[in-house]
Point group: C2
Chain length 362, copies 2
Amino acid sequence: MLAAWLALPLHNAGSLQRTIGRILELHRTCWLLDHRERLVESAWLGRGRYRSVGWPRPRRTRCTVTNQAHVLSLYRGGEPFRTDSSAKHFKVMDQDGEVNPLTIAIVGFGNFGQFLAKAFIEAGHRVVGFSRSDYHAVASQLGCVFESNADELLERHHPSVLVLATSILSTEQVLRQFPTEKLENCLVVDVLSVKVYARELMLRYLPVSSDILATHPMFGPESGRDSWRGLPFVFERVRIRRYERCEAFLDIFRSRGCTLVEMACQEHDHYAASTQFITHTTGRMLAELKITSTPINTRGFESLLAVVETTVRDSFDLYYGLYRFNPNAKEELNKMQRALERVRSRLEEYDRLYQAAESKRQ
Amino acid sequence: MLAAWLALPLHNAGSLQRTIGRILELHRTCWLLDHRERLVESAWLGRGRYRSVGWPRPRRTRCTVTNQAHVLSLYRGGEPFRTDSSAKHFKVMDQDGEVNPLTIAIVGFGNFGQFLAKAFIEAGHRVVGFSRSDYHAVASQLGCVFESNADELLERHHPSVLVLATSILSTEQVLRQFPTEKLENCLVVDVLSVKVYARELMLRYLPVSSDILATHPMFGPESGRDSWRGLPFVFERVRIRRYERCEAFLDIFRSRGCTLVEMACQEHDHYAASTQFITHTTGRMLAELKITSTPINTRGFESLLAVVETTVRDSFDLYYGLYRFNPNAKEELNKMQRALERVRSRLEEYDRLYQAAESKRQ
């Protein structure tokens, strides 16, 4: 599996930096474990862009790579390279090391599932689409296989990662009908726009031995059409025992340039209600108004037109899902109505003052 | 004044095209009159970009340059070159022709007035700022003179163009107090965001011998900070007798790359209510909600943040002006509230159906 290891002591920041320079082109993700083999930090090395002396400092412990690291191992493509936790060594997989692609099942093979499948395939992984509807043709066009029977999906393909790309409204139903007991050693990932709810569902329906990653790519086939660079990808490692596999999955998003944002599900829902839900509601309000392009659009109006276009392209089911399953959404909707009412009141108050002043002048 | 004329018959499209190619670098605006010397069409020749065989076809007559044009004269910088209307000739001012800059008074020398002054000065015109507040320092920094007495403004500087860069709310008051009877041979231009009202005010307060141009640059110091390229500049020639001067003024906007949109004031207000007023109202509603950037902004949400930023930077006076003096604004505000109410009703209706279906399933 490994052609060679490269090891150097960690007390010398200068040599570490030079070594990182040399290996930069070969490897993309490194991860750092503490002495109990818990994940402390992972970092991604992009081509030509890395923080040289400082690897990113771990946020949750005082341990830093250059003086207190216990084990740091680099891997590529999800290969599980755990190393001796006693050595204060910086270990690197050789370029010739075999790459082990993941087999990723995508449950729910609609627009968003297909959009993800394309990226997974481009990253060199095996993808199996799964849905009760027939997507054989689409799948073969994308370059992946397709199954519509869950048992066959698991027995034939043994996916190590299973991505729930179902709609918010259908996810519970899907999990209920799925042979979840067979997902024992799987990493299960959801991509729902509501996270507290998704986390709860996965913890409730999945076997305790499965790994769980809750994610929300804050983009879709429209906004991520040309590039994913700089687009936020939110995640919480809900229950992860096999770090390498999880990191290999996150790597797909890192290597396309997403900004990875690690965040508790609850915090996500708090932010999402005051951003994504408000954006969707504004878009749908303006769509009801039937705003359209004119010969005299201001820049601001063009931005609003773009918002309408992207929000109405998403299903009403998604919008309703945000409303129903984000515990903060209803209050945000109330706030929007009150805000518009206040704008109106201010105009009317101003109007009274202006007219009074006018009649005095005349 | 004119160093040379270049004339060629109009029946030969090939030679016309070659000649246009040669004069392209020298001249920017041409205009076409019909046999009664009424303006049929004006066209702008940008550096390296012109429609070669076809000058833009006149929209209001069937007359085209290559076969039926009566008079076509080119001028630069507002020089009034009318020519013999009997000759079927294409006449061109020589490069060495003297340029006659306009003297432009800007009445109301706040943010927007100063923003315009800068562009007028850069185009080579003389600018005189005018306001009752003291802007001497700002004016001298911009490279123009400043007056705070209207009679002195007119007697000392004899402006040929007077731009009303006053706020919507103050314009009538300013016109009432201004010695408008002295604007007999002036071109008066307004830049208000409401056009029917501005047109009426100008027709009511200005002497019949003045020329009137109603305009609305659909941008400001913020949105036009880096470039005016592609930004709409709406105008109606309300009452123009001296085309050249009017075209020389419009040239300032043409040559900076604005998209010139000729449109009746009424039509402008119809469009503006359903674009600009809605944008401002959306921006103010979201500002009331205090939306702010988060680590997980979607692209759509970032657009909304930008809309808020630009709308709240404008004064509430401007927003109120749009509301009060655009006859369509009140109805648009009603429509927005109803639209938001409909979005809410749809969500609640969906909720009832979903919960009914859920309780059946369980």
